[in-house]
Symmetry: D2
Subunit: 337 residues, 4 copies
């Protein structure tokens, strides 16, 4: 942590800051420049968390030099993490593909989808039973009945299943039915929910918030990991910008950035990011090309009748074509699919 | 709801869309332009919620023409709503000022603050007992012990109190201590929490999400109101943009926009929006000048020692000066303070 | 300028960076922390502009500690600047109001507007003769004929006039007709145009770019001032965000931020920021309340027939009402109107 | 164009709007819904450009249904355009790679770079002679001397060359030296410059503005094309968002969106988008995978000494490795490299 003093800060202001820091037991390094004086803190900066140096006399600004996340930080865990979801490994040599409908609607829909995506090579079935919707008057999900259908599909097909949870109660119910919990974008900084997910022993898929920086996203992962659950997979799903041609702006740079800053696996969801079926395939290929560990792609037996997000869902045929197109891209980046 | 067909859409595609709509019992109006054909839906558009017209053959796009929020919509409730918080009215002729520390830290801190802000003319004490923090290693709040201190301050001073709640459990506890529940920016689309707040009979202060549109914000209010609780106050607290000179960008346009679209009261929090003490006073005056119903302003007995957000907190003296400066502005817009 | 080394950077990497800096004649201060080592540069940092320290072995990041703008920086010019525009002072005790149509359309329109706004108390007539429009097929302005009409209005009414310039040729023409040149938002980083404006002896109104940080804005002013023209007035006119209820998001925080960082006057344009007539008055009051030096407000004899931006223009009656409402706000912040 | 009337708009308001439209010679289609009435305009909507329907009594909003760009619109030009740059085709079966330094610095630098990138398979040399820089005190480019060096490199190596132009004067000079003009992000809405570029017979590389929507970008292309120059290539180079881990956010969705909306070729610049050398290669692969027509990648003989943007430049070795890695990706999308 570095304290930058205002230009022309008085000698007694500088000494005041130094003595505040030293009172915590830390040491300082002083750098007196022609225009400004800079004070570096040597040692464990958490010791100064209780004093507001920004408000001390003569201080211009405080510049942090280390990240606040530790467990998710590659600096302290240089090897890639591999997360097990049922029998599927995410973060290793396999490209993990999660697919299924935005919302679970019926037994027929879920089973038909599970069979189709399995036949095309996907390993994990997704499907929302608790749906966070902008308006209270939109379809809110089948809740536990939806989870039961997901479990039934798992039993029939052997696919692993992932479902979003939106409350502690939903977590308590979901752990009985699914292989992986999903925390959605709107709940990325619902810290209570993150802690509850961290207390389970299920892997957690953590979607990036609509306006979350990568730093905040890794701190959200840290909330889960600090509870003892190290099995976190990150999912880039588009951020909110001024552009309206796509629903959100898919930030594929997040893939190499996460790979540099963290050891956690990262997957990409081009369906929610774009909101447009025709853009899913090119961006899925791009995601694989830049090194993601997996994909989440929406499929539906009849997108024109989907209760939620139909316009972005692929038909089974479209999904099958895409999976075949993805294989050589996966191969080029050293992954199997 | 309007369906815009693609240029040159085939006659049978147009007829296909029309018959889908008519199958739901609705009627259409057809507008055949030189370049494109447009189909308007006549009647209750919720009847077409189950069919994905966007995916029908030949459709270019769907344009909604009415808002999805109803209870919070001024179109259906033309008069301003006035919300009672303890003995304080928000949305009427009184300018409501909420003040206090970001985080409740100690009895001394809370009581000293309560006495000081009351002496300066504030009507409501704020103070966080459940703190949503970016990092799990930052101070997380005193929880129920903090609520007890807030209640104690209320009993001594007669101020009403408002506290943020971050989970169903926090709501269950807080209803025993506070006059108003606050839903913070990070939880604005935590729909489960909104519903739980809607089931209480306490007024709710709903902060705008960091990247929430005003439309989404009013839909979030709708979640609370649809549960039967009509006592919602909105709080603009800055949105996330590319600018870094302030922590967030205070969107004061939201005040007249909310006044046009909704009957709910709206207050402004310049402290969290800017993150910089020196910018709080000018923006508080601006907020009053453009017609807000109240302010939320952070104060602390010793900002340099605050455990959270010290750099934006006013001292008691600064707050007292500000309150005196605000009075003539309030008067100019027809409010008492 | 501070160089933060990577955790565990090798001794020879640290020494390499130090010797690179010392080779330029500068001195360093070394701060060896428990986790990271930090190197501060002492002296004129422009000497290291030619070496890319970010790429040197072991370097994590470079943190600048001083602003790159000097002439516009309050640190080196503590008193407020007052800019003369014809007989009007901007930045002193007078609140400067610029008003008029978005686009100059006809003699009748300009003269009627000039008379009306003068009668209501405005001091400066605005009107676009060179219009930057998103589509090449939209009305592009009357060019020199428009400037002639503006000059005619000036001669009749005694108002000062300001017009936007969009090219060197437009500057060469405009200097013969106007009292102040305007650089629009889309040209805020058209550095060639900024330099040309800096070579004239006319004051320059520099609008903030749609996605310009305040730092970039002050650097754009620096381009004008570095050519010898110190008469720059800044104009906040809204930034681009995700919100769609207003055309742009008016960033009123920019007013106190500019006042803290720069000595230049700053005015506010609520008309272009919101794009909605009903929101202009409340935000104009807010702008005055937070300390701006002036306003730019669009008026039109018949907004329903305006060739450009009609929906945000006030009628003369609306403008007159607003001016009367603004006076007591101006008085409260110590300005005359 | 569709006019949405306010709920409960009076019959005479509706008739007023209709008669205004009919007065221009256009016809309307009326759609009277239960909540709102909608009026569609039939025919050439440019006829109503002069009347501000948004301000007519009872009007709620106007919804455009067709794009304002025509020449760049795929609807009116279904086949892909192929643009010739010297002997290189962009938009056909070849993947066009432009490479070179951000700024031209010296003969040695330019020639060494030209030889190296040619050896690695690039077809076009890039290099800035007119540099738009945030601060007037940063290196501004060698101007005509830089263009001469670019031409010299072209003559020796046979590479085509592209240089940014920032003023009419720069265009007049550059046409004597280069094969393609580049309009940079900051000048994307410098409409005067766009028109001047449209009057030359050189192909134009049009970079996306930092906060430009795709619609605005295509309208900017339209400015060039409306002057008679159809040879426009678009370049996605990142947009401005709240994220700070990369300099900008590379919006790869723009590639399939442009392909859907326009027939113009589109290339991608991952160097300027990320600002970080390590992220260039993965995003270059992603860009190819999602269907771009080419890449712009910065290289420098000695990035650690570059006068501009060194941290994002690749060394010749890194560029050579990347080109070899890109070839199989190009092949997968049916392009040769």
């Amino acid at each position: 942590m570095i304290i930058v003093m205002k230009p022309g800060a008085a000698k007694h202001s500088i000494e005041g800051v130094i003595s505040k820091i030293k009172a915590t037991g830390l040491d300082v390094h002083l750098s007196e420049g022609k225009e400004v004086t800079i004070i570096g803190i040597v040692g464990d900066k958490s010791l100064v968390a209780g004093i507001n140096l920004e408000l001390a006399d003569g201080v211009d600004k405080i510049v942090p030099v280390t990240e606040s996340y530790k467990l998710s930080n590659r600096k302290f865990h240089p090897e890639n993490s591999v997360v097990q979801v049922g029998g599927v490994s995410i973060g290793g040599s396999e490209l993990a593909v999660m697919s299924g409908p935005c919302a679970v609607e019926s037994e027929d829909q879920v089973l038909a989808t599970a069979r189709a995506i399995k036949a095309s090579g996907a390993q994990i079935l997704r499907g929302g039973a608790y749906k966070p919707r902008t308006s209270p008057y939109s379809f809110q999900g089948l809740e536990e009945d939806g989870l039961k259908l997901m479990k039934e599909a798992r039993e029939e097909t052997g696919l692993s299943v992932v479902c979003e949870v939106t409350s502690q109660k939903a977590i308590e119910t979901a752990v009985n039915y699914v292989d992986m919990l999903q925390i959605g974008a709107r709940n990325m900084q619902n810290f209570y929910l993150l802690k509850e997910a961290g207390k389970t022993n299920l892997p957690v898929l953590l979607k990036r918030g609509l306006s979350a920086t990568i730093d905040e996203w890794l701190n959200a992962a840290e909330y889960i990991m600090a509870e003892g659950n190290q099995n976190v997979v990150l999912c880039e799903r588009g951020i909110r910008t001024f552009e309206t041609a796509t629903r959100n702006t898919l930030d594929l740079s997040a893939v190499p950035v996460i790979k540099a800053k963290s050891h956690l696996p990262v997957i990409v969801d081009p369906s929610h990011a774009t909101g447009v079926r025709d853009y899913v395939a090119p961006l899925a290929k791009a995601a694989v090309a830049c090194g993601c560990d997996g994909l989440m792609i929406e499929t539906h037996p009849n997108p024109a009748c989907a209760l939620s997000d139909g316009p972005q869902s692929l038909t089974f045929e479209q999904f099958d074509v895409l999976m075949n197109e993805l294989r050589p891209f996966a191969q080029l980046v050293g992954k199997t699919l």
